[in-house]
């Protein structure tokens, strides 16, 4: 199912807002869990089964632990760590799942077109687009550096944690700076950053599924806020 990038951005906005509010009653928990299931279901629809299942299990286990095994009377250091860990996962994973879904399924030109339609300044749009473009590059570079470290046998920096980070970061920074520089040069020779208005071949239209999701998320957020603060 194809969604309009604007719907996706709206989803991120709502989910991020909701994860910042704690659920206090079982009903509110229900609303939160329902909202989390939507991006997971969307991942399934996009045939990204592996990540969908991973998120589902991760979230499910954390939820189950929180509700059935941990209580306020639990004690002991391990339990404390577990409580903290599950708390963070349960609280913030929904936003991460949504963001993951959006980044993985949105093409850069779709995203840029959506931003333009919302009259976001080009400067902001282009910077965000470059960030999206850079993720896979950073991953590629990072893998290459890890290989190089394996060959040298310095994966663990000789037991020195600081070195371990240094050995990864220094080559990574150098190559990212270089690539970024060449990338910008190539982009501006093809007219990026001109004064004229940029056009886009991507036609964006809010379809029925977009409206449904926007409606669903608005209502869910409304219920959540109302249930928490006014009832």
């Amino acid at each position: 199912m194809r969604l309009d990038p604007r719907t996706k951005l709206y989803m991120i906005l709502i989910v991020s807002a909701v994860v910042l509010m704690t659920a206090t009653t079982p009903f509110l928990w229900g609303v939160r869990i329902l909202m989390t299931m939507v991006p997971i279901a969307l991942l399934f629809l996009e045939k990204r089964y592996a990540s969908a299942v991973r998120f589902l299990v991760f979230y499910g286990v954390a939820l189950a632990l929180t509700f059935f095994f941990l209580s306020e009377e639990s004690s002991g250091i391990l339990t404390a760590i577990l409580i903290g860990y599950c708390g963070i996962v349960v609280q913030f994973l929904p936003a991460m799942i949504t963001a993951w879904y959006v980044v993985r399924t949105t093409k850069i030109d779709e995203f840029m077109s959506a931003m333009q339609r919302m009259h976001v300044p080009d400067g902001i749009t282009i910077s965000l687009a470059v960030v999206m473009r850079f993720f896979p590059t950073i991953k590629e570079e990072y893998m290459a550096i890890r290989d190089a470290m394996k060959m040298r046998g310095i994966m663990f920096g000789g037991g020195n944690a600081l070195k371990m980070i240094e050995f990864r970061m220094i080559p990574l920074l150098f190559s990212c700076v270089n690539i970024g520089d060449e990338l910008s040069a190539a982009a501006i020779t093809r007219g990026l950053g001109g004064k004229g208005k940029r056009t886009s071949v991507v036609e964006l239209k809010l379809h029925i599924q977009d409206w449904c999701l926007i409606f669903l998320f608005t209502v869910a957020a409304g219920i959540f806020v109302a249930g928490k603060y006014f009832l």
């Binding site: 093409k107 850069i108 030109d109 687009a129 470059v130 999206m132 473009r133 896979p136 590059t137 590629e140 570079e141 290459a144 550096i145 290989d147 190089a148 470290m149 394996k150 060959m151 040298r152 046998g153 310095i154 240094e166 050995f167 220094i170 080559p171 150098f174 190559s175 270089n178 690539i179 060449e182 990338l183 910008s184 040069a185 190539a186 982009a187 501006i188 020779t189 093809r190 007219g191 990026l192 950053g193 001109g194 004064k195 004229g196 208005k197 940029r198 056009t199 886009s200 071949v201 036609e203």
Partner: protein, 518 residues
């Protein structure tokens, strides 16, 4: 004579922060519709000249700049960079870093979108370019999964989509194999037929032979020679070599090694393990698949049981569906010790996988190396071997050359460090930051650290891509010297010139199989 389209008038330029002037008082003129080759050693100012014409100088790279460049009637200095987009298109050297999009479709329409064409026109242009270049099957793909050659095709397409009058190519073939270069030559020919003005800066000259109208030879920021295309092609081999250029004509046999598909398998009987004596490095059971669930061990056992006497070239006897998903399948390969062995084959045919498996970077690969009577498997392979990567920046970690060598030693031995550095001509840079060195020097630092770690087998992944003739020769000599000192060298390359220069033996890999070895 047709009209002039680019005029460079008494231009001198020097980059900010660099001491030497890069271009000194150059005056040139290019006519509409001609194809011009810029050649000369690295650092002679070819790239700078390209940047002057597409406006990256002075709009993106700043420096001291005098004189005047006029392109299509506009003064570059007074024209905004984005206005040049529809007039001058540039194809860059590195396919990795010239894409803005992550998918092919987005990349082709990127330029036209920037200059604000109506979506309908953009789609028409895309159609046109796609059908012209026959790249329909590349549409809808992620740019990160394309091979170097395919990436360069998309780069050409996205430049084409802006319909520029002038097309600049800055060492476009550096990372390409023979086949991809033919495709590139085809794109250039098409542009030439459309009457575009084309300027190519390049080290590899052989594929341009029939395309160029004029050749400019740059040296130290000046145009030293100028030939017509025909004059240039009739230069003798020696004259070309004296100019420190790569050969214009390469010997037939190297080209055929890259293209001919059938001849060599029959000739490849030589691939049989000749004599398995102490002077061989023997690779056995090299099987690998990128599919994580693939039962490599089972296949290895199966092949081991049924096909004991297989040699380097034949397909082992095992279920077909298994063979098909093996990205690397080398039951046994016996290499001469202390030789330089070239590894050739097309882009994406398994050369890199082969090297990665040999040095043990792919943990799941089942292979075993026998050398000097010892057997190395699993992690031990990493100690025996060392790979110098194509992008050597990835493997320099410290803040000085000395520290880089020490990092590879178990005990910091200053004397041995000096010895190694001296041998590689790096002693004077001992205290310098590796990133401040030139590309070739960085390569040698990586080699120094490999020697310090005691690696006996050195692997090089495309060490000469993008190098000029002099530097390529240096690399060739160095490989020879390393081999004489007792290391076994495996070098993957697309440069027939390098094979001719230094390789004692050649392995051809196709589809993860050794199809030729001599």
């Amino acid at each position: 004579m047709s009209e002039e389209i680019i005029r460079i008038d008494h231009v001198s330029f020097q980059y900010k922060g660099s001491k030497e002037g890069l271009l000194s008082d150059i005056s040139l003129s290019f006519r509409k519709g001609e194809t011009v080759l810029l050649c000369g050693a690295s650092g002679c100012g070819k790239t700078t000249l390209i940047r002057l014409i597409n406006g990256l100088i002075p709009h993106y790279y700043s420096g001291e700049y005098s004189g005047e460049v006029t392109v299509d009637g506009r003064s570059i200095r007074e024209t905004e960079q984005y206005e040049m987009a529809g007039i001058v298109g540039t194809v860059f050297q590195n396919p990795r870093s010239q894409f803005f999009s992550v998918d092919t479709d987005g990349e082709i329409v990127f330029g036209p979108e920037n200059i604000g064409l109506a979506p309908k026109d953009i789609l028409e242009r895309k159609e046109l370019v796609v059908s012209e270049m026959q790249i329909k099957k590349l549409l809808g793909r992620s740019l990160f999964e394309l091979s170097g050659g395919e990436k360069q095709k998309i780069a050409c397409a996205s430049v084409s989509a802006l319909l520029p009058e002038i097309i600049l190519l800055d060492e476009p073939s550096s990372n390409l194999d023979w086949q991809a270069i033919s495709d590139l030559a085809e794109s250039i020919r098409r542009w030439k037929e459309q009457g575009k003005t084309i300027i190519i800066s390049e080290h590899r000259l052989w594929y341009l032979k029939d395309l160029i109208d004029r050749v400019l030879y740059l040296n130290e920021g000046k145009v030293e020679h100028e030939w017509s295309g025909e004059e240039f092609c009739s230069l003798s081999e020696k004259e070309v070599a004296d100019l420190k250029l790569r050969p214009v004509t390469i010997e037939e046999k190297y080209i055929s090694a890259f293209t001919d598909e059938t001849g060599k398998i029959s000739a490849g009987g030589a691939g049989r393990s000749k004599e398995v004596s102490g002077n061989r490095v023997v690779l056995t059971d090299y099987y690998f698949s990128y599919d994580r669930k693939f039962p490599l061990k089972k296949v290895k056992k199966h092949i081991g049981e049924t096909n004991n006497a297989c040699d380097g070239c034949s397909e082992p006897d095992c279920p077909k569906e298994h063979l098909e998903s093996l990205q690397l399948c080398i039951p046994k390969l016996s290499l001469s010790k202390g030789k330089v062995i070239g590894v050739i084959g097309r882009n994406g045919t398994g050369k890199s996988t082969f090297l990665r498996c040999v040095c043990g970077l792919e943990k799941r690969c089942t292979g075993v190396i026998e050398a000097d009577g010892k057997t190395y498997s699993g992690k031990d392979r990493l100690k025996l071997t060392y790979m110098v990567m194509q992008d050597v920046n990835h493997q320099l970690f410290t803040d000085s050359v000395k520290a880089e060598v020490f990092l590879s030693m178990e005990n910091e031995d200053e004397k041995r460090c000096d010895e190694i550095l001296h041998k590689l001509g790096l002693l004077e840079f001992k205290e310098k930051h590796p990133m401040a060195l030139s590309g070739g020097q960085k390569q040698r630092v990586a080699i120094a650290s490999a020697i310090a770690a005691g690696a006996k087998i050195l692997l090089f992944d495309e060490p000469t891509s993008g190098l000029d003739y002099a530097h390529m020769k240096q690399v060739g000599d160095m490989l020879q010297a390393l081999a004489h000192a007792g290391s076994t060298i495996l070098v993957s390359t697309h440069d027939p010139e390098l094979l001719a220069l230094c390789c004692d033996e050649v392995i051809q890999i196709e589809n993860g199989r050794v199809v030729y070895y001599s």
